[in-house]
């Protein structure tokens, strides 16, 4: 290329800048979307791979029915291909809210949190043998047994639970978690990245409703158990293969196969050790349980005993006021008496003292009298003895009498003779007479005193009465005070009574629960012991890690889009380049002739246009690759970060994709250029130098139908002929509009598909007809059901209930390469299932009955597992339960994978004797079902009533919690909204860009080519509007045709895209709604009108003088 030609090319670019830019943009769009969507999968996988590598994600996970110990590690390490073995232990517990109620999970079951042990002190990094390493994001690692770290993902998504400083309470599921770990409450001290859980859905758990909702890491030594629950294995050289690749899978499978062989042997050895460990444990447990039962019995007795006591107290309290009144009356009576007596006492001062004096005197006198009279009596008998002795005259008797007399009478000493005695007797007689006189005197004195006393007798009686009254009053006062105190005291006493009853009842509930738990635990342990005979390993690959597989799937899904978008854009790019280059060559026709005449070869001339097209294509390519490789994967990655925890992604450059993009873009631009230039250059120079004959008008097909043609009118004729004359341009506009409408329809359709899904699943008249699920504290047997339902659920707020067994399990089939999270629903009453879940045919909507033939699965479940009616689905739990069940029906279902079956099918399939129910489905009274109708006040009223019902049920001993479907709608809805807006923005943006580039460029060329025509008609006297319509009429027809075709094309595109965009647990609504069509058409019209308005300016600016110029 000569310098002049080169300069000429640059000038051409500048002159036709808008056309040049249009080609650049359309190529950039095509290449950008192609490269971007192609890059999504490898970029996202690379991000995951680097995350896995950094954290040393285990390649194989082994679980064992008999757990692991260090001896197992040694055994496994010896297996060829095994690089490292890490043991881990964990326990699943129920997460409690600060108010002491169990938290609920997103799908409404109890919120189960896994407490995982992790040795924070061991070395980490690529040199460490430890698999699934944690990486601290903020805070610190735990140092004490009651500290934990949480995942960055949970930290982001559930700040109400997982923030530093928060105390988390995790209780055992029907067991004391402290049997396993040291603490029940953990303080969050740090936030970590962990590779084990990268998805929002964490998988299954044996605890609670079977669904794992959260997890924390605690120090490994906080576990008190001696065994480990999980074994993580690193495979030699596995880190050299990228995750999700076939090479990686093959490498790991080789080791897995070896483990499958070694597993049973190692497990059997472990089972022996385990047996030795379990037997005493069971024995202890049994004893403990007996004790617990006894305690419970006692407690129940105590409650029974306490009741009459309490009733007596209550009665007493009721009677106390009457008693008090009685005492008060008594007191008042006494008081009257006392007052009366007191009056008299006051009138006779000293009387009492006098009386007392008199009484004393008499007493004293009586005492003297008594003494004296005794002395007289004794003296008389002594004298008698003496007189007798005198009569006898015997010496001895005289002697004796003398001494006796001496005892009673103070006598002068004398001879022991009769004379002496005689003298003494006389003496004594004299004394005795004296004494008798004194006695008489005393007697007289007494009588005198008594007579005196008798005079005051009446008064004294009164005084005595007063004394008594006084005493009685004191007593009455005391009694009254006591009665008062009783009245005061009674309520307290009663409250204390009530408290102790409540306390005892609470203790009874706890004790009853403990006993039930104990029984369960014991049963479990016993089952365990039985299971030891059948010790086995469950060997899993990375599929086990929540989100690992689905992350791979969703990144692959995006690749599907990589075909649709770019195909549309490239088609348009091709047409656009063709038009532009044809136009350009046409413009420079004369120049081409001159150059050719001057001796330039066709090749040299071609080179200019090639250079032009190549530059545009290259520029578009570079821009497209630069933006495509970065923005699109980033946007999609960011959107999916709501669902997956892969912290960061680095955009990558993919040579193969880039080369394909380059090839396609340059192919399109260069080939079309060569084609259009060579088409012109085939003429001889002379021909070229003459103006090109205006393109001949031609009769069109329509003109053979005069009855139609005549009706068209003049404008219509021009329009129709123009459309036919410029087929490429017409096709291109048509393709542009078609693509725009189709993309919009797809975008809006996705919005509709995602947006209406929840409503179709949970809304009014939807799949899920029940309003909430009550989770039962203990499994409910069929026989117990009526009693419980009557007791707990007979409530005017509840319309109907049905017990079901609901459990998260895994579903599988031979044609499905991993396990699907499913929820089995065993309905107590198969005939009433339509009241709670609409089982209807996917296409016809006809109800499908639940029978004992087999289970009923959802359409998406069937699609993923590749099952038809009559096939067999494999269902297994995280535990040992496993069943193969015939599929009896496939029904409409949008969210999650529900598998419905009758108790009989369940029992038969899982080999269970009798199905027990763990959930009661509830339909609310009609007034409580609508949350979207009525005034705010009414809605609030309904909400409050619902909350109250949940609280009332949760307060019973039988129900853990009641969860409304509304909460699922709220939770899932939030996530889907984000996804929806990303997709809608991408599609609308792409549609807008496409429509704009195509229509603008096209109209530009159209107007440019027809400048002369437009100038002429203006000279002829066309008004502005009429001149516009001269151009617009074609656009209007093309737009209408394009919209129609776009709507038609959008339907399959939407169908394809929606399937590609679906996530495993959901089936989007795959149909389009009328408003989607309307909105797509209207927005396309708006785009078209906007561009035509821009064009109006261009048309208006056309100078009529152009009409006079010569044809170039």
């Amino acid at each position: 290329m000569t310098k002049a030609l080169f300069r000429d090319t640059l000038r051409a670019m500048r002159k036709t800048l808008s056309r040049f830019i249009s080609i650049v943009i359309i190529v950039a769009l095509g290449v950008g979307f192609f490269a971007g969507l192609k890059a999504v999968s490898p970029t996202m996988k690379a991000a995951a791979q680097s995350f896995y590598k950094k954290h040393m994600l285990a390649d194989i996970v082994v679980q064992s029915t008999v757990y692991f110990d260090e001896k197992d590690v040694e055994a496994v390490r010896g297996i060829p291909g095994v690089e490292s073995v890490t043991l881990s232990r964990s326990i699943d517990g129920v997460f409690f809210k600060p108010d002491g109620k169990p938290e609920q999970s997103m799908s409404g079951t109890a919120y189960v949190t896994r407490v995982i042990g992790y040795d924070f002190k061991q070395p980490v990094g690529s040199g460490s043998a430890r698999r699934n390493q944690l990486q601290l994001v903020k805070g610190r690692f735990p140092e004490r047994p009651d500290e934990c770290v949480v995942s960055a993902y949970a930290n982001k998504m559930e700040p109400q639970h997982y923030v530093i400083g928060q105390k988390l309470r995790i209780c055992g599921d029907f067991e004391d978690i402290r049997d396993t770990v040291k603490s029940e409450i953990y303080t969050v001290v740090g936030v970590v990245y962990t590779p084990e859980f990268i998805a929002m859905e964490l998988g299954a758990s044996k605890a609670g409703g079977g669904e794992l909702s959260g997890y924390i890491y605690i120090p490994d030594d906080a576990f008190v158990t001696e065994y480990y629950t999980t074994m993580y294995i690193g495979v030699e050289d596995a880190s050299e293969y990228a995750a999700y690749t076939a090479g990686y899978k093959d490498l790991v499978r080789r080791v897995t196969d070896k483990l499958e062989i070694a597993g049973p042997v190692i497990a059997a050895q472990r089972a022996q050790r385990m047996t030795d460990y379990l037997i005493p444990l069971i024995e202890d447990g049994r004893k403990e349980l007996e004790q617990g039962k006894a305690d419970l019995e006692e407690l129940r007795k105590a409650i029974a005993n306490y009741a009459p006591q309490y009733d007596a107290g209550k009665r007493q309290m009721q009677e106390a006021p009457a008693k008090y009144q009685e005492q008060l009356d008594k007191y008042n009576a006494n008081k009257a008496k006392y007052d009366e007596a007191y009056e008299i006492v006051v009138q006779h001062p000293g009387a009492w003292e006098e009386y007392q004096e008199g009484v004393n005197q008499i007493e004293r006198a009586e005492n003297s009298y008594n003494v004296a009279s005794a002395a007289v009596a004794a003296g008389k008998s002594a004298l008698n003895v003496a007189n007798k002795a005198l009569e006898s005259g015997e010496d001895a008797r005289i002697k004796n009498a003398m001494s006796i007399l001496a005892l009673y009478f103070p006598l002068e000493a004398a001879d022991q003779t009769i004379e002496g005695l005689r003298a003494r007797v006389a003496e004594a007689q004299a004394q005795l007479d004296e004494q008798e006189a004194a006695l008489a005197e005393a007697k007289a004195e007494i009588n005198a005193g008594k007579a005196k006393l008798a005079q005051n007798k009446a008064l004294i009686a009164q005084l005595e009465e007063f004394n008594r009254a006084s005493k009685e009053l004191t007593a009455a006062k005391a009694a009254l005070d006591k009665a008062w105190a009783e009245i005061q005291d009674a309520p307290d006493k009663l409250t204390r009574g009530e408290e102790s009853i409540a306390d005892m009842q609470a203790r009874e509930i706890t004790a009853a629960r403990d006993v039930a738990n104990g029984e369960r635990k014991l049963r479990r342990a016993e089952n365990h012991l039985i299971a030891l005979d059948n010790a086995q390993w469950i060997i899993l690959d990375r599929d086990e890690f929540a989100g690992y597989t689905s992350y791979g799937n969703i990144s692959d899904n995006m690749e599907q889009f990589a075909l649709i978008f770019p195909a549309l854009f490239f088609l348009v790019a091709l047409l656009m380049t063709l038009t532009t280059m044809t136009r350009m060559v046409g413009d420079e026709r004369t120049q081409l002739g001159v150059l050719k005449a001057a001796g330039y070869s066709s090749g040299a001339i071609l080179f200019k246009y090639l250079f032009y097209a190549f530059t545009a294509g290259l520029l578009g390519c570079v821009i497209g690759l630069a933006l495509g490789f970065t923005i699109i994967p980033m946007m999609i990655f960011k959107a999916y970060q709501i669902l997956y925890l892969i912290p960061e992604m680095t955009p990558g450059f993919f040579w193969d994709t880039a080369a394909l993009g380059f090839g396609a873009a340059l192919g399109v631009t260069v080939v079309t250029t060569v084609f259009s230039v060579m088409w012109t250059l085939r003429h001889r120079p002379a021909q070229l130098m003459r103006p090109k004959a205006p393109k001949a008008g031609k009769r069109i097909f329509l003109e053979w139908f005069p009855f139609l043609w005549k009706r068209l009118g003049f404008n219509g004729k021009v329009t129709m002929r123009n459309l036919v004359r410029n087929k490429i341009r017409f096709l291109m506009t048509f393709a542009g509009i078609l693509s725009c409408t189709a993309l919009l329809l797809t975008g809006f359709g996705i919005g509709n598909s995602i947006g209406t899904m929840l409503d179709k699943q949970f809304g009014a008249d939807s799949v899920m007809r029940f309003d909430g699920q009550a989770l039962l504290q203990a499994p409910l047997r069929k026989a117990e059901a009526p009693a419980l339902l009557n007791k707990i659920f007979r409530d005017e707020r509840i319309a109907s209930v049905m017990p079901v067994y609901m459990k998260k399990m895994y579903g599988g089939s031979p044609s499905f390469d991993h396990q699907l999270d499913v929820t089995i629903v065993v309905a107590q009453d198969k005939d009433r299932i339509p009241d709670f879940a609409a089982l209807s045919d996917e296409k016809t909507g006809k109800p499908i009955p639940l029978t004992d033939e087999g289970c009923i699965i959802g359409g998406k479940t069937a699609e993923l597992l590749g099952l038809k009616v009559g096939d067999t689905i494999t269902i297994q739990s995280a535990g040992p339960e496993k069943a193969e069940i015939k599929v009896a029906g496939i029904v409409r279902n949008y969210v999650y994978h529900y598998i419905y079956m009758t108790p009989q099918v369940y029992e038969r399939g899982f080999g269970v004797k009798e199905a027990a129910f763990n959930v009661v489905l509830i339909r609310l009274a009609p007034a409580l079902t609508r949350l979207d109708k009525g005034s705010d006040a009414e809605i609030n009223q309904v909400k409050e009533t619902r909350t109250a019902l949940a609280r009332d049920l949760g307060d019973t001993a039988e129900v853990i919690t009641l969860v409304y479907n509304q909460s699922i709608i709220d939770n899932v809805g939030r996530m889907l909204d984000i996804m929806r807006s990303v997709i809608v923005v991408v599609f609308t943006g792409a549609a807008g860009a496409l429509a704009f580039v195509v229509l603008y460029n096209l109209n530009n060329i159209n107007i440019y080519e027809r400048t002369r025509e437009l100038a002429t008609i203006k000279v002829l006297g066309f008004y502005d509007g009429e001149a516009d319509m001269f151009i617009y009429r074609e656009n209007i027809i093309t737009t209408i045709l394009g919209i129609g075709a776009g709507l038609a094309a959008g339907i399959p595109i939407h169908g394809f895209v929606i399937k590609a965009a679906e996530i495993e647990s959901m089936m989007f609504v795959r149909t389009l709604a009328m408003p989607n069509f309307l909105a797509s058409a209207i927005i396309t019209v708006i785009f078209a009108v906007a561009i035509n308005l821009l064009m109006h300016k261009r048309i208006k600016e056309i100078n009529m003088v152009e009409a006079l110029k010569s044809v170039e």
Partner: protein, 233 residues
Amino acid sequence: MSFIEFVDVSKQYIMGEVAINAVDGADFEIEEGELAIIVGASGAGKTTILNILGGMDSASGGEVYVAGEEITAFGNRRLIEYRRNQVGFVFQFYNLIPNLTALENVEIATQLSADPLSPAEVLEQVGLGERLHNFPAQLSGGEQQRVSIARALAKNPRLLLCDEPTGALDDTTGRQILQLLQKTCRETGTTVIIITHNTAFEPIADRVIHMRSGKITEVARNEEPKDVGELEW
């Protein structure tokens, strides 16, 4: 008052910093029914005169009266109406719409006009009665120009403006066209104004206006205009 009056009309184009006087103080009159020729070399300003007279361009100064109305005072819409109803244009390069047949190309104009003639009849008059349904590409240059004239005439205008109508045609054909224009003028009483650089046409006109460098140098009246057939060049 004459049918057309130019009163001190001037037109300036600003090209960067230079002002070019395309027309400078043009004063002339043309009577109704006359065949007038404006003649001058390239760049003399004759096309500008035509543009202003045709309502396609505005004057920088002065007044232009057509049938007593001052068209230089017209707004955009009135100018369009003026072009629509009173003016017929014949272009040097015919400016037929390639997508329309001869008849349709005439119809495009008659549609606009308040009082049109029958398109087919007009085409008949210009000698194209047999070629009504041919597309421009199927017609020779002279035939195309005839369609162009028919298009202008079918509007039944009072004023027919022709910009170098023979410029793209060979002598014989050009002569036929001129003849057609002269005939039209004489038979329908339409005022015909022809712009040309070819002084040889002068004898056929009723009035000849000479221009040079934007100025009217001479306005001459031919009392006895020649027929086109007598013309030699």
